[in-house]
Symmetry: C2
Subunit: 189 residues, 2 copies
DNA sequence: CAATACCGAATGAACATTCAATTTGGAGAG
DNA sequence: CTCTCCAAATTGAATGTTCATTCGGTATTG
């Protein structure tokens, strides 16, 4: 049933585009329907409610990034290089996906977000968590709680991606390298 | 005319509390009125519109932080110590003000936010900008664009403050010291 | 001929904003 | 000190709009 996935995906993509551009309170279901080229009623065939739609979109984005990270990461590399590689993948991924970055930044700060959703989504990040745990055990990086490590890696990446998209800064390859170096030096023991 | 300031301030504080708790699209003007103990109409005596109210609140918060930073910073200190001191002030300020952190995180990612507002607000941060420029000129910190420096300092501080408020992490004095150290090592040359 | 997908007008709730009417506070007159 | 008066402050019901969601019906598919 390919066309079903197509329509569901069209709704998710339309939502992504509108939220990135207009935020949550500028994004009505009728507008999503129009942008996706479906009727308003059809959205409710695929999603229970606006809340569900937003949460599903969040999970989709995180899952796709998790898969990309897992696929691109060379887990045979020494852990310090693995961490640098993860930083590079993260930064490039979100800088090339301004819509996803904008959505994530808004969603994770909104009341839609809650610990249960995050716990579910963290399953996609097994390699990242593993590498960080090994690195902490072997005294390669500082002994910091997960959320603090996230702040210096993932949050910096999405934050810079959004600033890049908004034109506050231009993330050239050279600058990306510098940011990876800075992130790494924040974490290293 | 003290009572005027009192009512205006009551409206701003009520808005802050509601946005921090319920986000932008959970915060109706009628609810702000009720929370502030005034009528809905009265809000429009002090503010042109909901947009204006939000923008004024943003400027107020940033101005107060700017004043605190300027007051607490010892500008006779050597620049590296000044930067560490700024990091400490920032982290403590926002960790002790979860409502302000939550509001800022949401506002700066929302469509209310725009470069003009930010340019205006940056005037409150003269000492910070000066210290960073001197530090860059003297090769004490990396030569990074302003927004990247902000990502490793201000953004990390508000992000951690919010995670602290949400219970994802507990920012003890010891951990705050570690974060200052990490931030500093990200920036230093 | 089911069952599923799809439509879009209809519904009622929630919303930001307005406004006519009322209250308040204080400056000046007596 | 008291009274008068007016501008500013305040009210909350009314307005018109926008919104998420529903639903009766039609099209499509296997």
């Amino acid at each position: 049933m390919d066309h079903i996935e197509d329509k569901r995906t069209a709704i998710l993509n339309a939502t992504l585009r509108l939220i990135a551009k207009n935020g949550f309170h500028g994004t009505a279901m009728a507008k999503v329907a129009k942008e996706a080229g479906v009727s308003a009623g059809s959205i409710y065939h695929y999603f229970d409610s606006k809340d569900t739609l937003m949460v599903e979109l969040y999970k989709d984005i995180k899952r796709h990034f998790g898969e990309t990270l897992t696929a691109q990461l060379d887990q045979t590399l020494p852990v310090p290089q693995q961490i640098r590689q993860m930083l590079a993948i993260m930064l490039r991924y979100y800088i090339h996906r301004p819509l996803e970055s904008a959505f994530l930044e808004q969603f994770t700060r909104s009341p839609y977000f809650n610990p249960n959703i995050e716990a579910e989504v963290m399953r996609y990040y097994a390699p990242l968590v593993t590498a960080m745990e090994i690195a902490q055990r072997d005294m390669i990086i500082k002994n910091l709680p997960g959320p603090v490590i996230m702040a210096f890696t993932f949050d910096v990446a999405t934050s810079l991606a959004q600033k890049h998209a908004a034109g506050y800064v231009t993330m050239t390859d050279d600058l990306i390298e510098k940011v990876i170096e800075a992130s790494w030096e924040a974490l290293r023991q």
